[in-house]
């Protein structure tokens, strides 16, 4: 079972619990077009959009993952459905998109059939990884030591 630890801190091996508390469970991630779409583009001789790299925030409170709208636009992924999304003023409908999330540090790749588009870059992240992502992993938040662990 591949396991990877992240610790925000002054240097390697020096995780700082206060930094984890401040920034939350943020890990380096890569957003790509779904494999089936990339294969189809390659067969058609079309250029495959380059993955977008950045930080992703793990969010155990989210039923669905979200990807920054600009990232989805740059990858050119067409929508695959509409879902009702809860808001304080009642449900609204929003489009969803298939995408692929990779965690390069541990060679983890998860194809997610539906993610929401959201404005995330103001928060310094490209994705919010919800329980649809986490269902493929074992995730540990060690606030005492300031360490995140992901395994699959």
């Amino acid at each position: 079972m591949p396991v990877h630890n992240w610790g925000l801190g002054a240097g390697p091996g020096q995780p700082d619990p206060s930094l984890l508390e401040r920034h939350g469970p943020v890990i380096p991630a890569q957003i790509e077009i779904p494999t089936v779409l990339a294969q189809q583009m390659q067969r058609a001789g079309a250029p495959v959009p380059q993955p977008v790299t950045g930080n992703a925030l793990i969010d155990t409170g989210a039923t669905l993952s979200a990807v920054d709208a600009q990232v989805l636009t740059s990858l050119g992924i067409a929508s695959t459905g509409i879902v009702p999304v809860w808001t304080p003023s009642g449900p609204t409908r929003q489009p969803v998109f298939a995408s692929k999330v990779a965690i390069p540090a541990m060679r983890l790749v998860v194809e997610i059939p539906r993610v929401l588009g959201a404005q995330l870059q103001g928060a310094g992240i490209i994705a919010l990884l919800g329980r649809d992502f986490l269902r493929h992993t074992l995730f540990e938040y060690n606030g005492t030591l300031g360490i995140l662990t992901l395994a699959y």
Binding site: A44, G61, G76, A78, T80, G81, V83, P88
Partner: protein, 86 residues
């Protein structure tokens, strides 16, 4: 993000036939494009693969056939909690 009008139409079409599909296809995923049901699949992924093979990278509607739609909840976004307190 904005919903494409064609996708909206397919969504409305799905809503109109959903109750009728429940008898034989409950729990499956329907693939719909231009007001026609292309097929029923066991998983989201299988429906997407078929959609891409048939139509390419265009808007398609993949919808789970169930009595009530599941409402997506992402409190971090919907309550504006990203960066709250920082």
């Amino acid at each position: 993000m904005a919903i494409e009008p064609a996708l909206e139409k397919d969504y409305e079409y799905f809503q109109s036939i959903r109750a009728g599909l429940l008898k034989e296809h409950a729990g499956k995923f329907a693939l719909i494009r231009n007001g026609e049901v292309v097929g029923f699949y066991d998983t989201d992924e299988a429906a997407y693969e078929e959609g891409v093979k048939r139509f390419g990278n265009v808007p398609i509607l993949i919808a789970r056939i169930e009595l009530e739609e599941r409402v997506v909840r992402i409190p971090t976004l919907q309550l504006g909690l990203l960066n709250a307190g920082s």
